[in-house]
Symmetry: C2
Subunit: 317 residues, 2 copies
């Protein structure tokens, strides 16, 4: 895989760079790539745009199909709208209202499924077969991985512009591993640490064991809806394994604390799944270096859920 | 006054440009300058940095004194810390906890006063006289006005980079008028609309009457603590009057709605005072043009206050 997309090919990419914030932790300056500030609120736009903008005229006419709990859905819907492609998205009926509303507002057709009893892969494949539409996977796809990796190139350019070297440590949220694998490819000199919520650390365990393990069938749900992936793909696993990536697990309390930190110190919204890498740094579970890059991957969260988290947080002192 | 600060003098300015978001309202694309994403959460850093970085060695040794409800306090504290200058800030005892904590965390000494019974100007002047420190006003000062105006230059450069003309309409929050006056000077070809909360529209009324009027002595408090200025200054008033600026008033409900919009669509935190200009556009009280720039001026708000606003908002559909 070659990550050719990003600032090196600016004509392809319709969005300005996302902000690179600086904050202090463990006595060091940390760079935070705010992918939550993409126009649809998550890094997913990168992969979706990369895939959809490369479709030929005939493929564009037949449309695209995707399945997603929400952020990939909005990324595909955003790119499809901008490119004039029709999009059908298969989403779980219990997805956050914000993500369902966001996807619908971008003009995509939504097909709901029951996360417990139905197979989203099956529904999406059937839809694609019927209409001839192109299936756009959320992580198990070279185009998607390559697109997500552009975040690392963009951040490296921004760090260089501030007189800093390239990142030597990248701490990133991990669901299916598309973002993490893309970053491993686009920043091959950085050590990769992938962060997952408790009970959903299948990529971390897989990397530790050297082979893919699934999330336990009795794992309790996590409020990191964006990271609820039961099994990573061979492609993302092998890229991360070959890069020497390791995994870290964070608790819900650590994630909530990171969300409140982002609220008070960075003035941005992070959704739970978007805050796990920040949580790993603030909790001290990852020891930072002189050129650490942390990815804040998404900010699509229902107001009531966010309000509840803020309300139970302590007032900063 | 000459606004010489900003991208034209990059060596002076220690921060990367704040993001310029795009959103749609009234069927048009609007540009939103997110000054809430400055390192201390508000545009105030611009004026404070401009003033403090121009102090001579002897002045720097004697330190600075400022009075502020919170954002100017943090701007001065941030600049003072970076420049190695000691800062004493006079703040109202009922300032948001987030602003008190933020100012203290930046190393400034805080002197509290009672907003109802004491004069912050008097306390600050006395402190300055005793120590020989330089008083840094929050808006009634050419340096401060000039510094705040750099936001307009920066936004114009960003709009040009995206193939857009300079802003022809600027909609901005207004307290004492430092930011608005600075923008009027730095973007003289734009029509200026200043936005204030109900009962605190003294600048708007002053502009309509052609002379300065104060806020009524029985005006109820507003949750826009950053905009609670009882009397604007001759300097800011005259600049805005000469530029042909006009005023618009928004209600608390409109402001809360704008804060929720920023939460759901832009994934950023706005404090009430930072959201008034956005509220004026979303409510249709300001009719936008093809090159409208709206300033999102600050994002320092207590978690509990923000949570309460989110909780009473309707879930987006």
């Amino acid at each position: 895989l070659q990550v050719s997309f990003g600032p090196n090919a600016p004509s392809l990419w319709p969005c300005p760079p996302t902000p690179l914030f600086e904050f202090e932790a463990q006595g060091r300056k940390i760079f935070a790539k705010a992918e939550s500030l993409q126009p649809m609120g998550a890094f997913k736009l990168r992969g979706a745009w990369h895939r959809l903008s490369a479709l030929g005229d005939e493929e564009r006419r037949r449309g695209v199909v995707a399945f997603s709990s929400g952020n990939h859905a909005q990324g595909v819907a955003w790119a499809a709208k901008r490119l004039g492609i029709s999009a059908v998205i298969v989403m779980p009926s219990d997805a956050p209202v914000a993500k369902l509303a966001g996807t619908r507002a971008l003009g995509a057709e939504i097909v709901l499924y029951n996360r417990e009893t139905e197979s989203r892969e099956g529904i999406a494949a059937e839809l694609a077969e019927k209409s001839g539409a192109t299936l756009v996977p959320s992580f198990d796809d070279p185009w998607i991985i390559e697109g997500q990796g552009s975040a690392g190139i963009e951040a490296s350019v921004q760090m260089a512009a501030r007189g800093h070297g390239a990142p030597d440590l990248i701490v990133t949220p991990c669901g299916g591993g598309g973002l993490a694998a893309g970053l491993a490819l686009s920043c091959p000199d950085a050590r990769m640490v992938i962060v997952e919520p408790q009970h959903w650390d299948d990529m971390g365990q897989s990397l530790a064991l050297g082979e893919i393990v699934e999330v336990a069938s009795d794992a309790p749900a996590t409020f990191c809806d964006a990271l609820m992936c039961r099994r990573v793909s061979d492609l993302t696993f092998e890229i991360l394994r070959d890069s020497g990536a390791t995994g870290v697990v964070v608790s819900e309390a650590e994630i909530e604390s990171a969300m409140c930190y982002a609220f008070s110190k960075l003035q941005i919204i992070l959704e739970p799944g978007g805050a796990v890498a920040l949580a790993a740094i603030l909790s001290g579970k990852v020891i930072v270096t002189d050129n650490t890059l942390v990815v804040l991957s998404g900010g699509n969260v229902d107001p009531a859920a966010f309000a509840a988290i803020l309300a139970r947080s302590e007032t900063p002192t």
